[in-house]
Amino acid sequence: MGQASALGFFDYELNSLSFTVNESKVDRQHLITACCENMRKQSIDSLTLKFDDQMFLFFLRNEENIRFVEGSFKDYPKLVSRVKFSTDEQEPEVIPVMQKANAPSVKEPSDNTGDSTTKEPDHALLQRSMYQPMSYFQKAYSNAELYFKPLDDTGGDFYWTKDYQYKNLVVLGDCTGHGTFGSMIAMSVMTLLKQFFRLPPTSLTNALIDFHKQMLELMEDEVLEVFDVELAILVLDKRTKELTYAGSGVNVVIKTKKGTTQLKSRKSQLILGRVKEEKVKLKKNDQLYVSSDGIFDQFDADNKKRLGSSNFQKMVDSLPFENSLDHFNQQFEEFKGDTPQLDDQSMLILTL
């Protein structure tokens, strides 16, 4: 992990710098202050200065402060990620697995040593760089929340959105396996997704079938039998609020004021060529819960009964429309108790 020669933040209220690490040159402190003041004044979101001695300074403006880091340019991606995703070793922060406006956080340490600091492996950093912030989903939805908890440092679950002129596409995927294995598949699938859906699909059924075919062509070896993904693809017509869904194993629960309905799909339907797309007319404030099977497969506090898709739907039914993620997290934590999770878990809550 790259070492920062300066790390800290500029507090708006105090109008001063606070350092966690400061081995920087003396005159850099004035430079940092000047940059922060200017960023604030001009509403600059992020700023990088590269110096002729191969050092850099990076600043990121938040609502409360401006975080900054200085280090060697060869460590730029790692150090910038530490600032962006608050994974600083010297200044550990408790990051919840719930995210409302950012890319997913690093998984909390799984050991019981009480040490909350964790070093993020390079492959986790690389995978995380492909995740979009929740604000991307807010181009078509009034609110977007994410529950994201890989089983290991990295996982096979992913999510992605693309906004077109009149339509919006959301994909949630669950790749074979978990950990590094799952994450490698997830990264390949995400790369393909971005190419495949450059234009909005005219037929979601055909798109889903074609996508799976292209995905299987990605690798040449027989090992491809395990190279697989379950998907939920949602296309929202922003003008009419009509939602089109097609899936290959990832379900969607639609929550309206009248109750909940679940749109289900199975991988076997795809193999048999029987993929169907479903269309649902939505209204303002209706919610979509798109979740991977890792949530359904979670066992209860007694380690006897799976949550299952029906109980998940009931849980969704009982959640309020406001702060849904907080309430879900509370209920889910109560349900599972100390029982360990078995698979990557992810869920998007999208509110129209």
């Binding site: 000047a34 001009q42 979101d45 200065l49 590269k50």
Partner: protein, 102 residues
């Protein structure tokens, strides 16, 4: 090479490398009048500035002691990685041309 010749070259390079973005050549004095850059503490030791503001990404590279290249593009049309690559190619072309025509 004159600034006029530079600008002609920049127009060609924009079409080639950054059709959806903007390329500007700035001299030391113009730097202080630029709407975004004017208050940045630009020291002699700084070789590059990357900046993200509203919907735009900006990359400022030092070409010579007093000449700077500023490339910018809308985030939705060009991500920062592509912009940095474009800036790199354009800087190199300008330097090469400057040497050839000197």
């Amino acid at each position: 090479m004159s600034i006029g010749r530079f600008n002609e070259l920049v127009t060609q390079l924009k079409a080639q490398y950054l059709p959806n973005g903007n390329i500007e050549l700035l001299e030391d004095s113009e730097f202080r009048e630029h709407p975004i850059l004017f208050e940045l503490p630009f020291l002699d030791t700084i070789t590059e500035i990357r900046l993200e503001k509203d919907v735009g990404n900006y990359v400022l590279s030092r070409l010579s002691e007093s000449l700077f290249l500023l490339v910018s593009a809308n985030k939705s049309q060009c991500n920062i990685g592509i912009l940095l690559n474009s800036a790199k190619y354009i800087s190199r072309e300008i330097r090469d041309s400057a040497i050839t025509l000197a």
